[in-house]
Symmetry: C2
Subunit: 425 residues, 2 copies
């Protein structure tokens, strides 16, 4: 795609509450634009990255047997009353025509539990593993930190339904692996952290946490056992105990909850077991916010010049800058080579954002660093004199020349190679 | 995919307000499930079809230069006040924390116009063609007709921004072609119909209408000129004039509007032209509801037994039923052949829903007709005796045998062949 025609260019502006690197960099690089506190428009670049993250999540959920559905975001009062949650703080509640009371979905146990009840009647129908990937809404008094804490945010929420505790536990453990795959594929090094089970269970729930200096959470890694714990489950007298714990600043990028029979009991959801007796339904919920993951990747992978996307989630793989020449014949040759490379790379599955604007090289290079695609190519009079293109990876300082004839093959190999990611904040 | 593990089976139940074939058939076949009047959950089958329609729309919008973005559905009062639409009936309005007034997006001119204003400064930035594909919300007093008139519904909305009337008109005409491509690919034969421009313009807007007996709209085709007109723009005295008009019952499946400068003027959006003087920004809006298209396809393509999906939007291409045998060796052979065909067909790009349940053939065939996949294959003791599989297309009455060795190749050819669609209501 040509950068000149892309909607949403880089900008010096940052949102009023650009209190975090992800808010500032994603805005300045033209990925997102704030509509109001806690609600961002995804511009074409940002939507491409969000969709890549969503697709990674989808593949990993499908791989553990999840089936994708889509539940309305506009929900009737009744489902929240049935589960006793109509009054919870985070719900946006309102009346529609005819005085009908409704709420926006902040989560979906309340809708999915009765849905699964209506499509199951015997033990043969279990387990059920359904997920969706749509926006959720939370009435946050203080939305902040860009994509990290929004009033509207994208969320994958999976719900599991089992008739035995063993079946549930087996799936719960499997889900941890799927979650770690998601983060690894997104270039995040996540820890599995024990947290309180909240209102639903005496057991632990689990969070996935990524280390970063800007993180608001704290993870306590027990020096002896290696267990990673959320602050909630560390005795208060140990909160500063660095003899016992390595304490890390982190961002939470997902969580999974044993729900036991909290929601199935609320709506009297039992099914007939193999022996004919009614069985309780054991549930779990499993959340990852693709928009929050996107913000977290930027928190972890950026430097003073801009974002440094991992290959798998970069909106394009390559930023190709063709530099201007005052010599018309040279300019024609630059344009011809760049256009040819653009088409050949795209045909080889290497996605190219081609900056063909007639602007200064310094301005192009600054935009390239800010936007943060993993590979920068430059086609100029100087490189063409060597029958080559300049090749510079975003995480390297040095550029080198690669022959034009060899470029597409090298780019394909580079794209297929495992990534060596280093966190630079 | 195995039917036994699919979430959301066929059911005899229909929603309380199953007032239309799409509501009844999509519910009974396990595509959608009503959460409340005007809001449906998409089950795995339904979500597959919805996504295929969305992808067709996306490809056609990209082909005319559209760039996909995603605007929040949760919107601040200010954008609606700025355009003078805070009070319109269809908005769900409410207060969040801190008394902040908000509305759910019913459409998005109010958010997209200031967005484009903030990313453009000169004539060089035009035209701008942006679209999104997310849910919209309308405070409908009487939601009805399944996916045809919802309170929450999926909508592709594109917005065009031009500095010249000629540029706008050229794009507006081009959009008609893209829309007609969408309908043709979805198996709908749509007419372009002149309608009133509404509040925004003295000019006509255009609707896309599909003939169907259950349609609530009326299209008047002028017998002399061939022009298709919405009832609004036909003189009232001619509403029953069948000498002058062929009058058709129809469903509206999309509309496009010249907005002139209605929204750009409201927010004082002008840009610097080539001569340095401020230029007005001429807008258009272009809507297709993928969920409404899905409902419309069912309205047009069904018979007394169930749905008849066109190949391009069927959730799977093939319904393969393996029938049960009491002979264990025969059963093993049936399972082996069916499993092999399933894998080979999937590898060839032919999507298979494999009904391997141990249920009566009659029940499987009834489900196959209800679900409405375009091709039904049957593997049974009888067909295996001929080293064959039974092949029956949904729109044909007769089945035939196809040799097992030849099946995958024939299925590939069938999938690639143009479709002959006939409307059966």
């Amino acid at each position: 795609m040509k950068y000149s025609t892309l909607f949403g260019k880089t900008t010096k502006e940052a949102p009023h509450d650009a209190d975090s690197p992800n808010a500032r960099l994603l805005t300045q690089a033209g990925y997102i634009h704030q509509l109001m506190a806690g609600a961002y428009t995804y511009l074409p670049l940002g939507l491409r990255t969000l969709k890549k993250i969503q697709q990674i999540v989808r593949e990993e959920m499908d791989a553990i047997g999840g089936q994708e559905i889509s539940v309305p975001m506009l929900t009737p009062k009744k489902v929240w009353e049935d589960t006793g949650r109509w009054g919870i703080d985070v719900l946006y509640r309102f009346e529609g025509a005819g005085g009908k009371e409704m709420a926006l979905a902040a989560t979906a146990e309340d809708m999915v539990t009765p849905l699964v009840k209506s499509f199951t009647s015997s033990y043969k129908d279990f387990p059920v593993l359904v997920y969706q990937m749509n926006d959720k809404f939370r009435n946050e008094p203080r939305a902040k930190s860009g994509l990290l804490r929004g009033r509207e945010f994208n969320m994958k929420d999976l719900y599991s339904f089992h008739l035995t505790q063993e079946g549930f536990e087996e799936f719960y453990e499997k889900s941890k692996g799927a979650y770690l795959n998601v983060y690894q594929r997104c270039g995040l090094d996540a820890m599995v952290v024990k947290a309180s089970g909240g209102d639903f269970t005496e057991k632990f729930s689990h969070e996935f946490q990524v280390k970063t200096e800007a993180g608001e959470d704290r993870v306590y890694v027990d020096k002896e056992s290696g267990d990673a714990l959320n602050r909630e489950v560390v005795p208060e007298e140990d909160w500063e105990n660095t003899d016992k714990y390595d304490i890390h600043k982190t961002i939470e990028v997902g969580n999974i909850f044993p729900l036991e029979t909290r929601f199935s009991d609320a709506i009297k959801f039992t099914v007939q077991g193999a022996d004919g007796s009614p069985q309780k339904v054991i549930m779990g919920s499993y959340g990852i916010g693709p928009s929050r993951v996107m913000g977290s990747i930027v928190e972890v992978h950026h430097d003073e010049k801009g974002i440094r996307w991992p290959k798998a989630v970069a909106p394009f793989h390559v930023y190709m800058a063709s530099l201007s020449s005052k010599d018309e014949a040279v300019q024609a040759r630059i344009d011809e080579v760049a256009a040819g490379l653009h088409d050949e790379l795209e045909a080889a599955g290497v996605e190219v954002l081609w900056d063909e604007r007639n602007t200064r090289p310094g301005s192009k290079f600054a935009d390239a660093d800010l936007i943060g695609l993993p590979l920068r190519l430059v086609v100029s009079e100087k490189t063409l004199a060597e029958n080559a293109v300049e090749w510079k990876e975003r995480h390297e300082d040095e550029a080198r020349l690669v022959g034009i004839d060899d470029l597409v093959e090298q780019a394909k190999q580079w794209l297929a190679a495992p990534e060596r990611l280093t966190s630079h904040e």
